[in-house]
């Protein structure tokens, strides 16, 4: 009987997995909560997407492509991969979404990552957005998040975001990389042989740097935003020189007038589904073997959930995962596996070049909001942590991490401050009670 592989996430990793699983002879159901395939990396306006139909696998007879499909739970079973509980609908968060349950012979988890943003005073002001938000608005909607924009934080993602902002007509005042020039150089120039397979990625970054130079956008290292201010929205930001540990150099503060601030301090893997499936983690990512198999039989993981390594490595991981999940001959795909391994080396280099400084919490004041949903401030959390209650009691007492986003945004920060597991969520995504009450559809073979 033909194997059925369910691939969750249609970014570079999921597309690679679906393509390889079909090539291995399997039937695939490919799901994404967005209405376009491609993930955040290939984001484009809907008219361009419709005109180009850029991903051939979505048109394949052996691949059912389910856009607008949110996986809200994975139900573990004694044998085989978990059942996949989905709500599908034409409109995001709309009425009339349908529940379905998918059973698969193998599951590939490729949910990707989202921006990690460290808190700072004023980060809840409207106009302060993640770098990813600015990128999506620019690339997917052709909208500039502001007219006078500063891009700040750490990591190579700052560059494409600033370039996209220029492309939609924003005045980009500068790109501030919190890491010091020394840390960047050490990270990027160490073990240069590892970069050979990543020349494409290097060229991509060089193109962004050239775009910023043409736009006369200054790129400064060892500097970050330590406060945003404004009445009802961001109006000015305070930047400061940062030491290697991200402590502020006193007296180095400058005030800039802006109408938008785009921030990222790296990426947080979206681990809720792997954790729900029972996958073991290693150093904050899903642990996988040579074939991208997780600790759960029949469950594979690919892309940013196994390490932040960028689109080419994610695609290579997806291909290996999909091939194995689809029952392809073991041991094949030597070139793809090499590309994947080079990508992983690239990831560890990135992490080394853009670490989060240990003393970042020095930016915080007692009234700085840490949990945006519940407006739990740093002082309250610090007092609760000092009271030596267990993490659960602290969360219930302060409500930190218990709001609508379920700690997706503040989770990594809370984990640092309170030593908790930020990724455990019994329900992966909110589902309406009416949808829960409706009996789910069980798709038949080939639907």
């Amino acid at each position: 009987m033909t194997r059925h592989v369910v691939v969750i996430g249609a970014g570079p990793a999921g597309l690679g997995a679906a393509t390889a699983a079909v090539r291995a002879g399997a039937r695939v159901t490919l799901l994404d909560s967005a209405d376009q395939a491609g993930g955040q990396y290939h984001r484009m306006p809907p008219d361009a997407y419709e005109a180009r139909r850029p991903f051939r696998i979505c048109e394949s007879e052996r691949c059912d492509w389910w856009p607008g499909a949110a996986v809200w739970a994975l139900e573990r079973r004694d044998s085989g991969p978990p059942r996949v509980h989905v709500v599908r609908g034409p409109d995001a968060d709309g009425d009339g979404r349908r529940r379905c349950v998918l059973r698969a012979d193998a599951l590939v988890l490729a949910p990707g990552a989202h921006d990690r943003v460290l808190p700072f005073p004023g980060w809840e002001l409207p106009g302060v957005v993640t770098a990813g938000a600015a990128q999506v608005l620019a690339k997917g909607e052709r909208v500039a998040v502001g007219g006078r924009v500063l891009v700040a934080g750490t990591g190579p993602f700052l560059l494409p975001v600033a370039a996209s902002l220029l492309d939609v007509g924003a005045h980009v005042l500068g790109v501030l990389e919190a890491g010091t020039a020394g840390a960047l150089l050490r990270g990027w120039t160490r073990r240069p042989w590892e970069l050979t397979g990543q020349a494409g990625k290097g060229a991509e970054l060089a193109a962004y740097a050239a775009r910023l130079a043409r736009g006369r956008v200054p790129y400064r290292t060892g500097r970050g935003v330590v406060e945003a201010r404004g009445d009802g929205r961001v109006e000015e930001v305070v930047t400061a020189r940062l030491r290697g540990d991200w402590s502020v150099v006193p007296g180095s503060e400058q005030v800039l007038t802006v109408d938008a601030l785009c921030v990222t301090h790296g990426f947080t893997p979206r681990l809720e589904l792997p954790v729900a499936a029972g996958c073991a983690l290693l150093d904050g990512f899903v642990a996988v073997d040579e074939d991208q198999a997780t600790s759960v039989p029949g469950v594979y993981a690919a892309g940013e959930v196994t390490g932040i390594a960028g689109a080419p490595a994610a695609r290579a991981e997806g291909v290996v995962a999909g091939w194995t999940a689809g029952g392809g001959t073991p041991g094949r795909l030597g070139a793809t596996r090499r590309r994947r391994d080079e990508g992983r080396a690239f990831a560890s280099r990135l992490a080394a070049a853009h670490p989060i400084g240990r003393r970042w919490a020095g930016w915080l004041r007692p009234d700085t909001i840490v949990c945006r949903c519940e407006e739990t401030d740093y002082g309250t959390l610090r007092d609760a942590a000092a009271s030596r209650l267990d993490a659960r009691a602290v969360r219930l007492g302060t409500r930190a991490g218990l709001g609508p986003c379920q700690a997706r945004i503040c989770g990594p920060t809370l984990a640092e401050l309170l030593d908790t597991n930020p990724h455990h969520r019994p329900i992966a995504w909110p589902i309406r009670l009416g949808e829960l009450a409706n009996p789910p559809a069980e798709p038949k073979e080939g639907t």
Binding site: A92, H114, L125, A133, V143, R233, G403, R408
Partner: protein, 91 residues
């Protein structure tokens, strides 16, 4: 004259706003110069933060359905958007 594509007309708390076909509600609001439309528990204004459906800061009510993420929902012509306050016990 250049070809002018048809617009998507929505209302936000009764005020008409026009966007381009396929745009999300959040993009239409930002392009119209509006950066906040929700409030945190203390009443502080909120708008788009993550832009990809993770943070739930941008929730709106669309044609009577509450808790729709404005950054994900593509606007349909005629959509009636109402802003929703955050009261205790609701998102």
């Amino acid at each position: 004259m250049p070809h002018k594509p048809p617009g998507v007309r929505i209302t936000v708390d009764g005020t008409p706003v026009t966007g381009r076909p396929g745009q999300t509600i959040a993009a239409i609001l930002i392009a119209a110069g509006r950066h906040s439309w929700r409030r945190g528990p203390s009443g502080s204004p909120r708008g788009v933060f993550c832009g990809i459906g993770v943070c739930f800061d941008c929730l709106v009510t669309v044609n009577g359905t509450r808790d729709v993420r404005a950054c994900l929902r593509r606007a349909d012509d005629g959509d009636a958007i109402t802003t929703q306050p955050r009261t205790k016990g609701t998102p």
